[in-house]
Structures are given as structure tokens and as C-alpha cells.
Amino acid sequence: MADVPVPELTGRPAHHQSWTAVLARPAGAIGAFLVLVVVVGGIIGPWVAPNDPFSVDGPSLAKPSLSFPMGTDALGRDAFSGVLHGLRTTLFVAGGVAAIVVVVGMSVGLAAGYRAGWLDQVLMRSTEFVQVLPRFFLAIVVIAMFGPGLRQLVLVLGLSSWPLLARVVRAETLSLREREFIEAARADGSSPLRIILRELLPNVVPSAVVVVGLLVAQVMLIEASLGFLGLGDPNVVSLGSLASEGQDFIRVAWWLAFFPGLAIVVAVLGLNLLADAVTGSLGGGR
């Protein structure tokens, strides 16, 4: 046809282009790299870790060396193995919380935004109720009542973290539902569920990714803080508890607090950078 030619037709699907756009930013590339390090370390860590983090393997308070890359603690336990296992704990909590947040937050946000009316009112009031709960203290209370354990930690953090995602998704949905492609889908005879899943969801995902990334970073910090305060499960290695134990020896063995702390910084900073880059690449692309 003699239509006006469109320049730069690459024919590549749009989402590929947006991921390249994220990685093209310095923040995106660095963030993605840091997150990758944390994820890979957390997944394969226990297998590659040279030692059991609870077993005594060497001299007490040995400096970082080839055999103990991050040194040893007062009992002669390998700190490197501890950090690798700690990353896995962090990852487990973060992943579990993210799964709960995505399921609850997306459902509430999409339903409230698309249906509006009384359902919106009910869901948003409930969201506000959950939002005003102080997450950290709630976690402390739950641990105090039910004892330390990763499962109850994931549950309490997950069930108290979704309101932000729900609100963002609802706001996106409210602006999208006025667009004509939603009307077009209704005119097709699509059911509301189909419209939500096939028309709205793909458009909401980018901003949801950003929010979930930031939420997960906060959750990692909370998990580490609980560990630091000694509220973690004593049978599971946590970066926070490692840092806390290392704190007692900070003058004689700096490495004990430094490496777990560094791992926390890497994980949280990586997620924040990545989320920032995704936000930035969305700004121009839509």
C-alpha cells in the first residue's frame, strides 16, 4: 500500500526492545549483574560452598586467604560458606514474599481498578488497613508468638507487603480501562476475566516489575535486620545474623561483619538499580 512508510521497522517484538533498553543503561547493566550474582550465588551456593557453615573447619579468626576466602569466625567456621548459605536464605524469603505479593497485589489491583464501584471501595479500604500495619514490628510479634522460622517470616512479610503493588496496579488499570482497546475487547464480547488477563495484565506488568523489585529489596533488608537482632531461625544461616555475630569482633576480625554486609548491599543495591532502570526505560517508551 502507498501508506506513509514507517522508518526503522525491525519487526522485533516490543518487549525484547524494552529489555535491551534497560540493559543499555549503566544502572540497568550494573543492577542486572549484581542481581544475577546474588541469584546465582543463592541457588548454587550450597553446592559450591567448600564447607558446612556450622562445622568447625580451621583456626579461629583466620584472615581471608585462599583456603578461607572470607576468613573464619571465632569458632573457626568458614565465613564464605556462611555467606553463600545466607544468600540462599535471603533468596528464599525474597522469592516467597514476591510470590505472595504478586498474587495478592495484582489480583486486588486489577479487580479494584477494572470493576471500580463498591468492589473498588471495599478492596481499597482493606488495602489501607493492611498498609498502616508496621511491617517490621508485625514480623517481630509473629516471631515472638510462633517462634522463629522462615515460613512464618515469608507469610507475615508477604501478607503485609502487597498494598503498594495493589495501589500501583489499580492506578495503572484505572487509566488503561478508559483506552479504546478495552472498549474494543468488550465490543468483541470478551468476558471481564479475559479482558483483565489478556488486555490489562500485559500492560500492567512493567510497572509491577518495578514495584516488586523495590519491595523485595525492602524485604531482604527486613530479613537481615531480624537476623541481626537475633530473631532469625538459629538453625538457618542468615546474612543478618552473620553480620551481627561479626560485630562483636569488628576490631580484631573486620571480615566477619564486612562480607555479610557487602552481600546485603549488593543484593539491595542491585535490585534498586535494576528497578530504576526499568522505570527509566518505561518513561520514554510509552
Binding site: A184, D188, S190
Partner: protein
């Protein structure tokens, strides 16, 4: 030619642009968007800069005024305002020129004005910005004078309003007032009337003409609308892909375009007036019958809970293979009407019968079944396509919804793409990777997927360039012929309706005021509103200027939340008399082809009125 044009000897160039060249840095490399453009405009004259979207019109003017975005680079060229090259000025000097010697009026007055300051204060600020000696009170008085000059009624009272309280036409007047506040030598109007209805466009163009007569300013009109050029300009520059392909006096360019590109632009311009032959009569009865349709909204504007009478008693029949045009100003209820017909909105009362079946109250499976054959095409092809799905997927969606996307689904999508003139290999693309015309074809393919009987088209070509409009209209005509479709075609563009529709219905504040055969209505409009609407259509050639046929309506469309008493048009009708204020006229048959609601138009003898009062 207009008589105000100054003789050649005394012409004094206000703005001279020479060899202007601008490049954009893109990921794909440098893109030259303006390439060696020259033009000039003299005092008291109007220059029209015309071209399709993407031709470089706006960038040319932005470059000339030193307003280029940071991604653009000025390669070379000069823009002399009374001999001073604007492109050599320092930013501070340039700021003194802009707003003082040069006034600008943009397309969208709502985004160009600050939403939280009073209109009058914004104009006063423009005055004080360039002349600190003016007192606050003095600037305010001057602002009110300016508002009066541009024809804002009750300016002494209404300057206190905020922009959102004004209509589009009024806001555009305020922008003009702001632009001329400091007596500029040059006024740049970038698509200033594009977003306005024809009736309001005529008012605003009149204001620009008056301002020019009063102040002798030079005007640069940037537009894609050749009608506006024919109406207003003394000289014309035609831009195509960044080059000035043609320039000269408006009479010359219109009468004998040198280049095929210009000739094409002109030929497909507003003068396309090919009248359709009447559709063959089919005696199977109407496919769509709408009776006394009413759609009211409750508007939630603050304290008031007004009822908006968007559609307020509309009836018509649509026969197979026929097209009915619905025309009217924006806000008259056209879009609400079509959305109610396809049941995207719930009617307050009235009935809609489709293929003989009452669909007004249908729901669930029954409604979905009807929706396969009663389809809608939207105006904004960008907004109407999901940006995150490929266009092939979008066209297949109705097939999936209706369980007809089986093994042969891909073949059907391919067939639909070919039917609307799209390469099937485009189906993997995403909407933003297609042009506006291609996107609208995708929208039409989606509507055709389920073999509809009736297509409701809501301003299907309004967002497209004129040559692309012509292609889409050709496509719609071909599809109608091949598939026997019936169209309800909504448009504010009367020339488009004339081309594509057998019958036309003129809508005003929720009601039809005249319905009839297109040829008859256009040749001899009966209702005063139809006459005003038709006369506001921009002329097609400069030779028609000042032929005195123009009726410029005063004011804006009444608020549909509080429609006027009696005849709804009486507030703007120049023929209104006492009875019109109290007594509402009904639609009555006035000749074999037409019904009309006006006290001044006498119906034909009651005996010959058909039972239903509707056209066959």
C-alpha cells in the same frame, strides 16, 4: 487574492528564513528532517506552511524561533526577524524576542495554559514579563481589552475564570490574546484550529483575520488543512519530507501546482466531493432499527449531580448495504450514540433492534452472539489497539473470543489482512511499529473478523492525513460493495460524510435535527444548524473567498447537562423567534427525502407522511 496584500514594492519582510537545515540524532543515525528550507513573510501578510504530518512543518518553525528540542541539531541556515538573525542570538536575547516580537499559538490551548492560574492573570503576566513598567492593574485592564479584541464575551467578568472553565474555542482565543499581548511583529499559529469543530474553527480564523487587520502583524499558519490555507493565506510553502517543494502566492499554487506532490495533496484535499450513487434498494427490511433512544449520564462534577442529556431521543433505520452519516460538533452526543448502539453503554430508554430482534436488554451469550455481527471501529487507531500485543494477535482476538480460531484461524487472519490491504507478514508487528493508516486497517480487519452485517465507525479517519483518509475511505467503499455491509459513519468532517454516506443525520445536543438523503441535504440544507455547519466547511480554493456564503455561529454548543428550552438551537440561531424559546419542534417530513425539526420549515401535507415518519 485578498485585497489587504501589500504591493510588491512596499512589502517589508518581517521574517526571512533561508537555507534552514535541521537534523535529529536517532539510534539509526542522523535523520535530516528539514533540508534547506527558504521562505519569507511580510508585514500584514499571512504565510501558510502546509504538508502532511511528518513533513517537517513544526520543526521548521521551532528551528526558526530557536526552540529546537535537545535531540535536534541546527546544521545551517538563518532566520532573520527584521534583519536580526534569531539563530545567532544568545538565549537571553532570544527570550526577549519570543513573546514580545513573536507570538505563538499552539494546537492544544488546554496544555499551553497553566491550569491553576486565572486566564486574565496569565495574559497580564505575558504583558508584564516583557514590560516591567506596566502596573499590575494596568496589565489586567490591558488583558481584558485583549480578551474583548479576540471576541471573548463578558471579558470583564470572565477573565477571573480558570482555563478548564472555558471551551476549546474560548481557550484558543485566550491564547491568541496572550500571543498578541505585546504587539508582536509576527504571529505563529501551529495547527491552532485543528482540534476545533468547523463552526468554532471559522470563529477563530475570523479572530486571527481581525487581529491582523487591527495590528498589521505578519502571520505564519502551520497546518495540514488546505481549506484553512485557501481561506487565510496570501503565500504558501508546501513541505514534503523536509524540503520546500513548492512556494508562491496562494492563488498560483492552488490554480497551477507545479509538482505532482502538491497536485496530489490538492486533489485529495477537501474538494473530494464525489457523490455516491444511491444504494440499491433492498426490500428485506432494516438491519438496524433505533427508536427513541435516550442515554443520560449522571455527571459527578463536584456539588452538582446533573443529568447529562448525551443522547435524548434518537430514531433511525439502517438498511443492508446502506451508510448513514451522523454529523455534529464535538459534544453533541455522536460518540455516546454509537457506543449505545453497540451496547458499550446502557441506554436509559428506547429500543435497538438488530436483524429484527430487540437487543436493548440482551446480556451474556445472546449479546456476544449479536456483537459478532454488529461491530465498531474506533477513531484513535493507537488507543484502540493493545500496545503489548502483535497486530496479528489483535485481529485474531475476536475469533478466539467466539471460538472460531481453530486450526484454520491463522488462515483467516491472513485473509483479513489481505482484505484490508495489509501485507500478511506485518502480523508479527506491534501497533507502534505501524503507520496511522496501517493501524486503522488493523482496526477494520478486527471488526470484519466475525463477518459483521453492520459496522459502526466512530470518526474512523479523523486522526489521519488527508491522502491516507482517502485510501481508508476507498477501502471502506470497496468493503461495503463486496460484503454488503451497512455503515453508521460518525464524523465531524462533512466532506468525508458526503463522500461515503447515502443518508446523513445532523445531530445537535442529543437529537437529530435533520435527516435525509446526502445529496439533498448538502445541496439544500433545511435546518439553520445544517446550513451553518455546511457553510463553516473550509472553502476548497482561494477563489471562493469572500463569496459571502459563510454563516459564522456565535458561541459554543450548549451544555448537554442543561439543554436550552424549546428548540435546542435557539441560543445560537440567527433566525430564532419567540416560539423557538418555548416550543420544541419535532422531526417532520419536509419532502420526499428528508425530515427536519424547525418551526421555520413547513412540513409537507400530513396525508403524505409515512406512518412511522422515518425515511425508507
Amino acid at each position: 487574492m485578498r485585497t489587504t496584500a501589500v504591493p510588491e514594492a512596499r512589502r517589508r519582510a518581517v521574517l526571512e528564513v533561508s537555507d534552514l537545515t535541521v537534523e535529529f540524532e536517532t539510534r539509526a543515525g542522523r535523520l535530516r528532517v528539514v533540508d534547506g528550507v527558504d521562505f519569507e513573510v511580510a508585514q500584514g501578510e499571512t504565510l501558510g506552511v502546509v504538508g502532511q504530518s511528518g513533513a517537517g512543518k513544526s520543526v521548521t518553525m521551532l528551528a526558526a524561533l530557536g526552540l529546537l528540542p535537545s535531540s535536534a541539531r541546527l546544521v545551517r541556515g538563518a532566520a532573520r526577524l527584521e534583519g536580526v538573525d534569531l539563530l545567532q542570538l544568545r538565549p537571553k536575547e532570544l527570550r526577549n524576542v519570543r513573546g514580545k516580537d513573536i507570538g505563538m499559538v499552539f494546537q492544544d490551548p488546554l496544555t499551553s495554559m497553566h491550569p491553576s492560574f486565572r486566564v486574565g492573570d496569565q495574559i497580564a503576566e505575558a504583558i508584564r514579563l516583557h514590560d516591567a513598567g506596566v502596573s499590575r492593574a494596568g496589565a489586567r485592564i490591558r488583558a481584558i481589552e485583549l480578551l474583548e479584541l479576540v471576541g471573548v464575551p463578558f471579558a470583564a467578568r470572565r477573565w477571573r475564570d480558570h482555563p478548564h472553565q472555558w471551551s476549546g474555542g474560548m481557550r484558543q482565543r485566550a491564547m491568541i490574546a496572550m500571543a498578541i499581548a505585546n504587539g508582536p511583529k509576527l504571529l505563529v499559529a501551529d495547527e491552532s484550529t485543528t482540534a476545533l469543530d468547523v463552526t468554532v474553527q471559522a470563529q477563530v480564523l475570523g479572530v486571527l483575520r481581525d487581529v491582523q487587520r487591527e495590528t498589521g502583524t505578519a502571520i505564519v499558519l502551520i497546518t495540514h488543512d488546505l481549506g484553512v490555507i485557501a481561506e487565510m493565506a496570501d503565500t504558501v510553502v508546501v513541505l514534503h519530507e523536509g524540503r520546500a517543494v513548492e512556494s508562491g502566492t496562494v492563488g498560483h499554487v492552488f490554480a497551477s501546482p507545479r509538482l505532482p506532490y502538491t497536485a496530489g495533496l490538492l486533489a485529495r484535499g477537501p474538494s473530494r466531493s464525489r457523490l455516491r450513487p444511491a444504494a440499491p434498494r433492498v426490500d428485506s427490511g432494516p438491519v438496524l432499527e433505533v427508536r427513541d433512544l435516550v442515554t443520560h449520564f449522571r455527571s459527578r462534577s463536584g456539588r452538582h449531580s446533573d443529568v447529562v442529556h448525551a443522547v435524548d431521543g434518537v430514531s433511525f433505520d439502517l438498511h443492508p448495504g446502506e451508510s448513514l452519516g451522523v454529523v455534529g460538533e464535538s459534544g453533541c452526543g455522536k460518540s455516546t450514540l454509537v457506543r449505545t448502539i453497540v451496547r458499550l453503554l446502557h441506554p436509559t430508554s428506547g429500543t435497538i433492534r438488530f436483524e429484527g430482534r430487540d437487543i436493548t436488554g440482551l446480556a451474556g451469550r445472546d449479546l456476544r452472539e449479536v456483537r459478532a455481527r454488529l461491530r465498531i471501529v474506533f477513531q484513535d487507531s493507537f488507543s484502540a489497539l493493545n500496545p503489548r500485543r502483535s497486530v496479528g494477535d489483535i485481529v485474531a482476538e475476536p475469533l478466539r473470543t467466539h471460538g472460531r480460531h481453530g486450526a484454520g484461524g491463522g488462515g483467516r487472519v491472513r485473509e483479513l489482512f489481505e482484505m484490508v490491504g495489509l501485507q500478511p507478514d506485518l502480523s508479527g508487528r506491534y501497533p507502534h511499529q505501524l503507520s496511522g493508516g496501517q493501524r486503522q486497517r488493523v482496526g477494520i480487519a478486527r471488526a470484519l473478523a466475525l463477518e459483521p452485517k453492520v459496522l459502526v465507525l466512530d470518526e474512523p479517519v479523523s486522526s489521519l492525513d488527508v491522502p491516507i483518509q482517502a485510501q481508508i475511505l476507498e477501502l471502506l467503499e470497496r468493503l461495503q460493495r463486496d460484503l454488503g455491509l451497512a455503515y453508521v459513519f460518525v464524523s465531524h468532517d462533512l466532506t468525508v460524510v458526503r463522500r461515503i454516506c447515502d443518508r446523513v443525520a445532523v445531530m445537535y445536543v442529543g437529537r437529530f435535527v435533520e435527516v435525509g438523503d446526502t445529496a439533498t441535504v448538502y445541496a439544500d440544507p433545511a435546518h439553520p444548524y445544517t446550513r451553518a455547519l455546511l457553510s463553516a466547511v473550509p472553502i476548497t480554493s482561494p477563489a471562493e473567498r469572500g463569496s459571502g456564503r459563510r454563516i459564522v455561529l456565535v458561541g459554543d454548543l450548549p451544555d448537554p447537562a442543561a439543554p436550552p428550552s424549546g428548540c435546542r438551537f435557539h441560543t445560537r440561531c440567527w433566525l430564532a423567534f419567540d416560539r423557538c424559546v418555548v416550543d420544541e419542534p419535532t422531526l417532520q417530513r419536509i419532502d420526499a427525502q428528508r425530515v427536519c425539526s424547525c418551526h421555520l420549515v413547513s412540513p409537507i401535507e400530513a396525508a403524505s407522511i409515512g406512518e412511522s415518519g422515518f425515511l425508507p
